[in-house]
Amino acid sequence: MRRLRERAIETVLFLAAASSVLVTIGIVGILVTESLPFFKTVSIVEFLTDTQWTPLFENPRYGILPLLCGTFLSTIIALLVAIPLGTVAAAFLSEYVRPSFREILKPILELLAAVPTVVYGYFALLFVTPLLQKIIPSLGGFNVLSAGLVIGVMIVPYVSSLSEDAMRSVPGHLREASFAVGASRMQTAFRVVIPAAFSGITSAYILGISRALGETMVVAIAAGMQPNLTMNPTEPAATITAFIVQVSLGDLPHGSIGYQSIYVAGLSLLVLTLGFNIIGLYLRKKFQEKE
């Protein structure tokens, strides 16, 4: 009786754990099956090479390039902010700051990631953009620059928290060895701790990239939702996520080409983020073998 009960409980718990795999299967399955009909109307070549994305217009054009362009542009700007700030902050917290002080600073930094993204959207549109317009007078009300900058600040804690964990788990004797041959704190940080923690730091960057690629509300609010094939950050643009929001706000009949187009966009986004995650796993494996 008791053994039977134990077995039953274990099975229930196992099913709960396995349900997380079902979530992934559900996401991939739904995105693929709902976007397949799209490719009956639109050829893959057109999808990948056309330079305009206007699926809801009279003369629809289905080229994903403008959306990819906007997505990459905002991600690159965000990373230019988040990676230097996050890495330096992590090195500072791990190598310079007293542990008691670090225990206070780290949670405060993590509050940055807790702020709802729609609030960041407000901040980008109504604070950062007017501020930037004082420096660049030609800047429009909607632009990728302020959205990217704000996303950058928002993902600093993702980068710094994981990097700091990785740096702190570097064994103390490596630091002592470095100090013993006369290296300064900064030399130790850059030539010993950061290389030793590199696999962990890489996964922190990858998580940051995933967050920036998938960030939705900031770009939907502040970047203007206009698909634009440009690499000029002062112009408005649409990202993949902003397009999905824009279309979802309207009334969308199930099975229409507009409905299919958001699934195609979502699938492209998933492929992008999964691609980066796999690169991250590969890099981490490679560096772990070296150690």
Partner: protein
């Protein structure tokens, strides 16, 4: 003599660089914190004046000064309840299984890898999945139930990971002591492991709910309305069986979507409303996160194994 001078100069130079780097570190921390502070101050300066009793008890309206967030906060509350109800049992059970039962084989490795991967999947794809699966395939409609399930799945990895961390912190001696008294595995978990790790699990639950309350994109995708001037069906009624679950099937709006809606209007008066909603949201998430940080540090101090 000259060599010594060189060394001294070298040391001085390196000390200077050390100092410069420490300054850079401090600056980047300060930059991040000052941005957070600016955001809070900017939002409060615009929004706080708008927050009063009417703001919480009025429905949205065409007139900015009469509009309120009643349907939005009630919606947020109902969805939080549904999310908690589906995500907590599932997440805790999964965490317990992975930490206490799972053997090192490909199934458990697949599950672990999958949880890492789920954390990197953009939240809007959860919304797309929910639209296809819950709304159209399972016919749950654009309802509170759909929204709660969507956010539940979204925060599931957070609960699993924090549950595992909390359980991992319990030393093996506790388990051995329990087995020595003749307890079964489940009894050990039920009467020892779970109660001792409840602090850590609670921290994860609070963090996941604070994440869910600010989530906007997946709910827009499943078709949340931006203008709702009624409340869900009351869950308690005068006749048998006294409770009903009709409210689960009602349409909804939530605070972040209300804020987004006001923000995308051109009139600045509505931006004031958006700021006020932002203040409410921010206060709630900051309180929840503060609570989680407090709990974490308290339990870490108290539990010296």
């Amino acid at each position: 003599m000259e060599v010594q001078q060189d060394i001294l100069a070298n040391i001085k130079r390196r000390q200077m660089w050390d100092f410069v780097f420490a300054l850079c570190g401090l600056m980047s921390l300060l930059f991040a914190l000052i941005t957070l502070l600016t955001l809070i101050v900017d939002l409060s300066m615009t929004g706080v004046a708008r927050i009063n009793y009417d703001f919480f008890t009025n429905f949205p309206s065409r007139f900015a000064d009469r509009a309120g967030i009643l349907s939005a906060w009630v919606g947020s509350f109902c969805i939080m309840l549904t999310t908690a109800f589906c995500a907590i049992p599932l997440g805790v059970a999964a965490g317990v299984y992975l930490e206490e039962y799972s053997k090192k084989n490909w199934v458990s490795q697949l599950i672990e890898l999958n949880i890492i991967n789920l954390a990197g999947i953009p939240s809007i794809t959860y919304g797309l999945m929910a639209l296809g699966l819950f709304v159209y395939k399972l016919k749950l409609g654009q309802s509170i139930l759909t929204a709660g399930l969507t956010l539940g799945l979204l925060v599931l990895p957070i609960i699993i990971v924090t549950t595992r961390e909390a359980i991992r912190a319990i030393p093996n001696t506790i388990r051995e002591a329990s087995y020595a008294m003749g307890a079964s595995k489940w009894q050990t978990i039920r009467y020892h492991i779970l109660p001792y790790s409840s602090g850590g699990i609670l921290t994860g639950v609070i963090i996941s709910l604070s994440r869910a309350i600010g989530e906007t994109a997946p709910l827009i995708t499943i078709g949340a309305l931006t203008f709702i001037a009624f409340l869900p069906t009351p869950p308690i009624e005068g006749h048998f069986p006294f409770v009903n679950f009709k409210w689960l099937m009602d349409p909804f709006t939530v605070m972040p979507i209300q804020m987004f809606n006001w923000l995308s209007r051109p009139q600045p008066e509505f931006h004031v409303n958006a700021a006020a909603t932002g203040v409410v949201l921010l206060v709630m998430t900051l309180i929840m996160n503060g609570g989680a940080i407090y709990l974490r540090s308290r339990f870490r101090k108290k539990m010296k194994w």
